[in-house]
């Protein structure tokens, strides 16, 4: 296939990628978006593969087959595990970029007649950007995936020590400095060693960047790594003078960037704060006076739910951990059958990845028009008869509105405390991930339902099903 046809194929693929993102803006057309994306990818691969000069077909076919099987198999994980699957996938995207950059550098260095001709300043800048971004995305995403999978040997709490930010920034600065030097002297006697050192530093910077971050900050981190993976593909496009790599990478990079900005806003953090990984510190809450929370039994709660006309359910990561979404669906059915208006209040950072709650509730076949975003549901909450908080904590903490000393002050929250009555399902009174006391649990109108989310919600549903027999 000649180069002219390849360029047209690339243009077509770019257009399809753009359409696929456009179709992602509505659940009705979103599956069409996936088909468009897959077609674009197929066209891109066929066009590149059939370029003149590609002759070593077995070197291409042999790795694709096991990777495709493994990729497809891992795509069948339960939906609660989607965040770690996505992080793992980011890791491999970054690895691919890093390896291609490495191979290309050593190819131009040792396999061509005139290395100085090939290793231009522009190409070297792009290669350095590609390998730094690629390798830091690789180890960073692996750590993120490991934390999300909750491996025992990885600390779930942020791993912090004094001066950490300087060590991290130092490693990064050293990698950039070495990169600058080999851009100036790409074929010096020490250049290859410097190149390898940049790889080692980037690999280390990646995991060190993600280690101090955990739990509730994961949606931001995953979005950020998504952006890095895209930008490393862009850098690869500059290295290889390939426009499709640039366009596809740019779309990925913009998506990751926008999502991380949205996540930052939803937690009232600055973007720079996230970029330098200086967040996620354990907050020590001041020991205040001993307050007591009131608890309620599922029987009592079910009776109150039955009398309500508007019930708002606030799901959080606790629902995902307990895999309680199907029980929530049963409860939803029992309540709607009685003519009760049931809405779900979705906080942007609930869960471990952007939009995590929506996917879990969609899996449980709850109609997506019942899932209401934070700003809209906050208007309805003063009219709500009952709010049911399932495994959410910081996103309903009124301290974010009122307590200037609270670490989460200024974070937009769901105003669960404004409803007539509030039930909170929680395992125990331990403070949440951020270690912040939640005033909501001690409010006059709040009652705790202690226990595992799946069990308690199941019990509520059963009570309601039993009661309906009497009516």
């Amino acid at each position: 296939m000649n180069n002219y046809i390849i360029e047209i194929a690339y243009l077509f693929a770019t257009a399809m990628f753009i359409f696929s993102l456009h179709w992602m803006n509505d659940p009705k057309t979103s599956r069409r978006g996936v088909v468009a994306g897959a077609i674009a990818m197929f066209v891109a691969i066929v066009a590149t593969w059939s370029a003149p000069g590609v002759t070593q077909h077995w070197w291409i076919i042999l790795p694709i087959i096991p990777a495709a099987v493994l990729g497809y198999w891992l795509a069948q994980v339960p939906l609660t595990a989607v965040p770690q699957r996505t992080a793992l996938s980011h890791a491999f995207g970054g690895l691919a970029a890093g390896l291609v950059g490495t191979a290309k550098y050593f190819y131009w260095r040792y396999c061509v007649a005139d290395p100085a001709m090939e290793l231009t300043t522009f190409r070297m800048c792009a290669i350095v950007a590609e390998i730094i971004l690629g390798y830091l995305t690789f180890t960073g995403s692996l750590v993120a995936a490991g934390k999300l999978q909750e491996f025992k040997w990885l600390p779930q709490r942020p791993w912090v020590y004094r001066g950490q930010i300087y060590v991290n920034l130092g490693a990064f600065a050293l990698a950039v400095l070495l990169g600058f030097l080999i851009v100036l002297v790409p074929d010096g006697s020490w250049s290859s060693a410097a190149f390898v050192l940049i790889i080692i530093l980037s690999l280390n910077f990646g995991w060190m960047l993600v280690m101090p971050i955990g739990g509730a900050d994961m949606p931001t981190v995953i979005s950020m790594l998504n952006a890095y993976a895209g930008l490393s593909a862009v850098a690869m496009g500059f290295v290889l003078n390939n426009k499709l790599l640039i366009t596809a990478g740019a779309l990925d990079g913009s998506s990751g960037l926008i999502l991380s900005i949205i996540m930052c806003k939803a937690m009232n953090r600055s973007f720079l704060n996230v970029l330098f990984g200086a967040f996620g510190q354990v907050q020590t809450s001041a020991a205040g006076e001993k307050k007591t929370a009131k608890s309620e039994t599922p029987e009592g709660a079910a009776q109150i739910l039955e009398q309500a006309s508007l019930v708002v359910i606030v799901p959080g990561y606790g629902m995902a951990v307990a895999q309680a979404q199907h029980r929530v669906r049963e409860l939803f059915d029992q309540l709607t059958r009685r003519g009760i208006d049931v809405r779900f209040a979705i906080h942007p950072v609930a869960g471990r990845m952007p939009g995590h709650m929506n996917v879990l509730l969609a899996e449980a076949e709850i109609p997506y028009d019942r899932l209401i975003e934070m700003d809209d549901i906050n208007h309805d909450l003063p009219q709500a008869d009952v709010v049911l908080v399932i495994g959410a904590n910081d996103v309903v903490n009124p301290a974010a509105r009122s307590d200037k000393n609270s670490p989460i002050y200024g974070m937009p929250i769901i105003d669960a405390d404004k409803a007539h009555m509030c039930f909170c399902i929680k395992r125990s009174m331990n403070p949440g991930f951020a270690g912040i006391e939640n005033e909501l649990y001690y409010a006059d109108r709040t009652f705790m339902l202690f226990g595992d989310a799946k069990q308690v919600v199941g019990e509520l549903g059963k009570q309601l099903a039993g009661n309906s027999g009497i009516h």
Binding site: I18, S20, L21, H22, M24, N25, P27, S30, R31, V34, G37, M41, I45, W49, V54, T55, Q56, W59, I60, P63, I64, A67, G71, L74, A75, Q76, V77, R85, T86, S89, G93, A96, L99, V100, A103, K104, F106, C111, V112, N226, A229, S232, L240, N242, K243, L244, L245, I246, A248, G249, S254, S255, M353, P354, G355, N358, V359, E365, P367, R370
Partner: protein, 95 residues
């Protein structure tokens, strides 16, 4: 020099198009959006493919790096599309 400016221009324009499109995606689709764009970043397999397109004889080291890159990119891409489609199948309105 002109070539470089064209490449940078292509990047900036697509990035802006991406920003405009992503801002229109509702939060309820953010998880599928992310696995979708994650699949798109599997475009890095092209880099692996292009490693095998040189006229000059390459060493087995470079071939091995290319093969691993292709495997990693293909895993990223196929897994991303598969899981995105699986999630989107679940989004339903009230019948």
């Amino acid at each position: 020099m002109v070539d470089i400016l064209v490449l940078v221009g292509v990047f900036l324009v697509t990035f802006l198009v991406g920003v405009v499109l992503i801002l229109k995606v509702p939060p309820r689709l953010h998880t599928p959006l992310m696995s979708m764009t994650n699949a798109v970043s599997g475009i890095t397999v092209l880099g692996g493919l292009l490693l095998f397109s040189g006229e000059v004889e390459t060493s087995w080291c470079i071939q091995a790096l290319g093969a691993i890159a292709i495997a990693a990119g293909a895993f990223n891409m196929l897994g991303g599309f598969a899981v995105t489609d699986r999630m989107l199948k679940l989004f339903k309105t009230r019948d």
